[in-house]
Symmetry: D2
Subunit: 353 residues, 4 copies
């Protein structure tokens, strides 16, 4: 198979760095360009000594981002840029016939109005919103294969949507009253030199932030509404936890069917198990935990896997679902590559195990 | 003022060690005995080099626990022992006329039946349950002053009860459907040499555990039921977070009164503010956060303070209350000393600031 | 005793914050002013929620630094400013008859030429160098008592000088060939929003830096040369370690007297023990560890204590001395207050235990 | 190429787990057996949920260790066992014609007497010592290829030997007076449930231990003596640092040739650069850092790479060499697989990038 030529615009942040790592080791692609205003002119090996062992890293230089030039160099372009900026690059690349996989929020929503409500500026390219596919392969695999503009989901949304969508589609849970309590590692804040993310401000600290109206709610609720076929509004509280990587989400849900004794509870439990098995039993990157195991971010960091477990609580009648993922891989760069694999016709797990 | 003589039975765990630290520096007491089967015969300074600077620490030896002997040596005895064991020591000490401040779960419940349900063995001293006062000074100050057997609350319960009790008593929130999502540092597990709590198993790990029926639910729900004057059942999910100390609790609540516009929301917000101000405005150890501040465990570790903040969410109609405390101080040893100060007639903040 | 009025110029960094904490709780002083360009106009409680419990913290506002005004308000002024800036404030304060305790490097050296060599700019107030006393109380107690300008030592220097000076003065070790290998927590870098000190860059990272010619070498070598009465040049390698606080220093030394059998080794060991006992046996803040104990930063964080232990190695003939301190307390703010206590005639340990 | 069948005896510790991870993904081997007394009967996926994504992990069960049975099942057997125990298993496996790669200390030394001195018991199989090859591929590549018993080096030794051996062989440094100061992550202590390695005992702690006579000195000094062709005794101080993985070693060395001006220093610097380039310029797993870069464990964790950098210090005349490695990979399991690749005729980097 010929190697696809891939480029990364914005390769110096944490997601970009993780894309570099995964693409350098991907069997079916060649990384031909990486851009960074800050590091233009330096090699990958100079900026990231950890890649020095890859022969490529000593010769590949960071360049200034230039969409026209990159359109000539690469078949597939990843955008690891802030929201609002990504759309600018997407347009000329798509016009030139390139595949674009965007890790920002710019193309995740169908509605430019909702975008403006949550991101506080007009959408930079509203015409493209209809062309984009939300890059959650376990849900939109077929659409992704046919698309040239993939909006790769956010880290929190991935951890919330994958556990919830099958339950909503199967009408096993009520679409109202959903609560998502999420705990994220600090890399989720990006490589920004802000005092809030200094080691001494995060280490030995646990804190909520960005509540009650975090930006990720927009894509979470849009996708949940599609699944439930009704408008879904959820409660979402993110917390910052002193780990480099990982998101642990705890979902508080109310089953559609109440259970009043052990037999009913077991029956419901089997329905949930069957629902998840049907949805994810063959998915390579979704681990449904069995027995007494509960999700733990340390099981998934460094991988493209999301772990899911659930418990019914006979005391409250609630269903608690928990998930763990690596925010930079299944929550960002790994999932983006999973989409690229689908778009390019590679095995879906290529470069991800 | 004459110094009260105090002893600690079980002084080698994390709570015991923190009691030692606080009592060595307390202006109105003399630490006359510390017990530990493991360290009997060694001095405080040998076992805990961090206390070596206290003149006392080089001469005070750990002894085997002996209630009769301790009853002669001390006026006040702290029990920092596992549940089931503490009750054994409490009886002879109370018979000898000593004040007992128990940090275990043994005397926190009124009901021996609930104790058995949650702790899986018969209560070792059911006759004493009526004599014990639940040692939450902000709620039971007057009762504590008159008692000789204080059942100092658990760490999770403190972080949940202090934010909830005033709201329930003022009927500002519904007593049903309460969710408590808590994040705890690893010292909460005690100084047990178990593989689950090894550095490499906890560092770079975030995980739920002990759900959906954690033992602390028994005392939480009993106290909430007293406050609400109705039987309260809550959802509680504890998580283990890689910090030494600190509990961050996020509470998901439904106001009694719904709000449908900004004016109603502001009115409710002011009611909540007034409720908390009335309950805690003069409390030295409860900080009600203002403005944009949210609780952060790093603000309270090393102190006897609990931070509380809240937000109304107009999108969901819910009230979110968050608290942060040091699990070993306000959640254990500091609060126990606060009770001792009340029992002994010392200033309530003595030795705690 | 009348309370002394104290002010802190530059109270928003880590050392400044620690000065605030200690001075708010000091029995003999009143904190009358704190300055910070960034936070001018805000109260202590607003900037540092952790101090909200102190009545003072809700009324004391940060102001712009103004030496003349502060000279009227305070009897003692702490400077917690970058080097080069501190000297500017010291001059008018001294002229106005105030006591100045400087935590920067500006007055630690006797030689303006050495200052320029290491700090890369001319000394801003060379005339003051002779008036300053190096604020290491265990070594310069008498001089500090008589001075009005204290140059409080750096964090690394304290951890190196206290273990070495008695050995050099007693001629127990050779003054040449000394190696100091130091490990520091990240707070040593200050509260600077630089990418190198972000949580994700420091957590799960161990790295040397600033070698082989770190700025602190200038004051270390000057002080060691005074003790040895000969010019001392040492090897010093600092490393950054993912803890908030603490410095662990390992010193590789060659005894003046070699030892070739167990008897000679024991004899030398006793000489070293006697030397340290004479130097520090009565010092409240120096812990000489006994038995198998080795220094551990967790024993000293939050305290003004430095732990010291040593081992002779019969295989190599070397003496290894190890120390542990809290870089922000004994290595900065605590030691500065220890000096203030001496200058003001307070008990030396006031506010520090 | 036919897959080689490999087994791991003692697969539940940290090194064993890392072997499992690497071998499951190795292109030329099939993992046919894993043993663990503790987990016998459970599948890999049950014991280590993180491996659940490998089809193999759901069917491969841990068994009790049985050398005779394993000799029938596997072509290559890894021993990840405590010292003293490994030798028992090696003998029957070698007798049965299997290749043995031992990660314990049992076959690292040539001298049974030195083994007894450092490990405090008689060597369990002294006859095998001559047959074993020290598994440091960069130094003993040819010998490894021909051997059937590989003694894979310890984690500290690897971090010390790779930087030192070329310098000693080229006679660029003096073989006497060498100091190695090492900082290790907590996984180096293994998955032992001991209180010293609990999260709260290691987090926010930095401490030396096991000095001045750590067991690893025996193999370090034996190998250095071979390289220097004279008996080498070094000073070695290990420290425990709160990271999961990684060893950072700082070596204090004296060049054979002194340098008194910049020209001489540059000349020596070039000799050192040339020496390292000759030794390691083509090595895939040794990164010689250039420019201002210094080793950082975060660059190498998760990889089989060792980073090396050095500085000459004109103030002291010393050479400082620093290295960083992942203690569980280049310091243990990765290096063992590198040896396996050589023994089996696979590409040396197979399964390691």
């Amino acid at each position: 198979m010929n190697l696809k030529r891939v480029a990364i615009i914005g390769a110096s942040g944490y997601s970009g760095e993780e894309l570099v790592r995964l693409l350098l080791n991907h069997p079916h692609v060649e990384l031909v360009a990486v851009t960074s205003r800050q590091y233009a002119g330096q090699t990958l090996a100079q900026v990231f000594p950890k890649f020095a062992g890859h022969s490529h890293a000593k010769t590949l230089h960071f360049t200034e981002p230039n969409a026209e030039l990159l359109a000539k160099q690469a078949d597939v372009v990843f955008l690891a840029l802030p929201h609002g900026v990504a759309a600018e690059y997407a347009m000329p690349l798509l016009d030139a016939g390139r595949m674009v996989i965007d890790l920002s929020a710019d193309f995740r929503l169908r509605s430019a109005a909702v975008y403006k409500e949550f991101y506080a500026h007009d959408h930079p390219a509203p015409d493209l919103l209809d062309k984009a596919v939300y890059g959650l392969p376990e849900i939109y695999r077929d659409e992704i294969k046919k698309s040239v503009l993939i909006a790769s989901p956010g880290c929190y949304p991935t951890s919330i949507l994958l556990p919830l969508i099958p339950l909503l589609m199967a009408e096993l849970i009520q679409p109202s009253g959903i609560i998502a309590d999420s705990l994220s590692g600090v890399s989720g804040a990006g490589r920004k030199a802000e005092a809030d993310y200094l080691f001494c401000e995060c280490n030995e600290s646990v804190r909520p932030y960005g509540m009650p109206k975090h930006r990720h709610l927009s894509e979470i609720e849009e996708q949940l509404s599609f699944a439930a076929e009704t408008r879904v509004t959820i409660q979402f509280t993110p917390h910052l936890i002193p780990v480099n990587r990982g998101i642990l989400t705890t979902l508080y849900l109310m089953p559609e069917k109440s259970f009043s004794d052990a037999a009913e509870m077991n029956a419901l439990n089997e329905q949930i198990a069957a629902c998840y098995a049907a949805a994810y039993g063959d998915e390579p990157f979704v681990h449904l935990l069995e027995g007494k195991n509960l999700p733990d971010t340390k099981n998934v960091t460094g991988t493209n896997v999301i772990e899911i477990a659930w418990r019914l609580d006979p005391r409250t009648g609630r269903l608690i679902v928990m998930s763990a993922e690596d925010n930079l891989i299944k929550g960002a760069s790994g999932q983006a590559i999973q989409s690229m694999n689908l778009v390019c016709g590679f095995p879906e797990t290529a470069g991800l195990v």
